[in-house]
Symmetry: C2
Subunit: 215 residues, 2 copies
Amino acid sequence: MTAPAKTDSSATRNPERTRERILTAALKEFAAHGFAGARVDAIARRAAINKRMLYHYFGDKEGLFKAVLRRKISQRQAWADNLSGDPAESLQFWFEAACKDVDWVRMLEWEALQGDAQKPIDEKERRAATARGMNRIRQRQARGQISAGFDPRHVMLAMRSLTMFPVAFPQLTRLITGRSVFDPKFQRERMAFLKKFAAVFRPAQGQQVKINFMK
Amino acid sequence: MTAPAKTDSSATRNPERTRERILTAALKEFAAHGFAGARVDAIARRAAINKRMLYHYFGDKEGLFKAVLRRKISQRQAWADNLSGDPAESLQFWFEAACKDVDWVRMLEWEALQGDAQKPIDEKERRAATARGMNRIRQRQARGQISAGFDPRHVMLAMRSLTMFPVAFPQLTRLITGRSVFDPKFQRERMAFLKKFAAVFRPAQGQQVKINFMK
DNA sequence: GCTCCAAGTAACTTGATGGTTACTTAACCG
DNA sequence: CGGTTAAGTAACCATCAAGTTACTTGGAGC
């Protein structure tokens, strides 16, 4: 066999590993400092590769940024497509996910701040993933788990808001609750709140349903 | 009278006006590009002042950034302390405010991404303002406008989330709803949604419906 | 073994950018 | 009125950072 083991972690030459290292290092750097603040040299240092390789594989800084974002996006999507159940669980699930993957939230934030809102990266795939999520919401509405009176698009937006916000704005979280987002105590409180709060999404007893219907 | 009219807009020398111009220009620039991305020369050009003056008044780029943030914060606080009524109105009010003052939302976002979460700028005053807001929520809970079952801190966090999020993440808003945050149609939809959605905050069951009807 | 190409390295270039120096000019005050 | 100080200007500098040039090396296929 001439081919070296793919999992070899210390082979003299290994394009895949190099690419991977660059992407991992770049994610850290970009998540921490954003596009403008990230230093290409820092990425190279962190990845323990020569800066030239970075240009070799990704063209330029922007190409690397896009590659990082794209990779994160597809990771998340593959991973996100399996969840079901009622809104309470979803809210908790997504809040936990945001806490566990701060880099993701931050990347979205950087994208929001510096990206062109008109043509987001990987728009097509993201739209598809969003559509899948939307269908799940519609199903739940049909099943009566979520009130049919709400526009599913706004339900989705509301859920994202409620789960991502504390991670996206840690300083406000601290200002308001007095605790760090990463404080386990805060997280427990938040989970409890979300569980209770999820009631909004469910069709209410009695009258309210009628009101919703009449609308 | 030796003193020139304070409102004179073209006096040969006018420190106040210069300071003001710098701050205004800097807000725009920082909101658009963040701290790292902002260009001091661009600020100077935009403000139509000599770059040196900027260092004269604010020391360095960071000093300027802090000054901008501080100014915006105090502006908002003065302005935010008058609102009352029920959660539906508050939600709508704050959503509108976010839409109207995107720069503010973006500054908070930049702060979140690059600021030290441990020691936010102007912490003391912000805490005080937050506390005032919290008291309003508690009052409403006492009056039965908001369910007493919720932790007021989390209610506040939830309200902020719901109102700021679409502006903070315009690309997600577009991806999810298909519309720009600034599309009047979106804004109308969102207002309607928030109004309905605010029901969650109100004490549940029987009462709720009545309140809805009475409104 | 030899050749060729991708992987990899080190040192360099070039332009942008935050900050400074050295100077001029207006205004306030005793 | 004169002189001290703050407002204002223009040209400059040092540094930093993205991107390149020019080179070396490993290995797959013949």
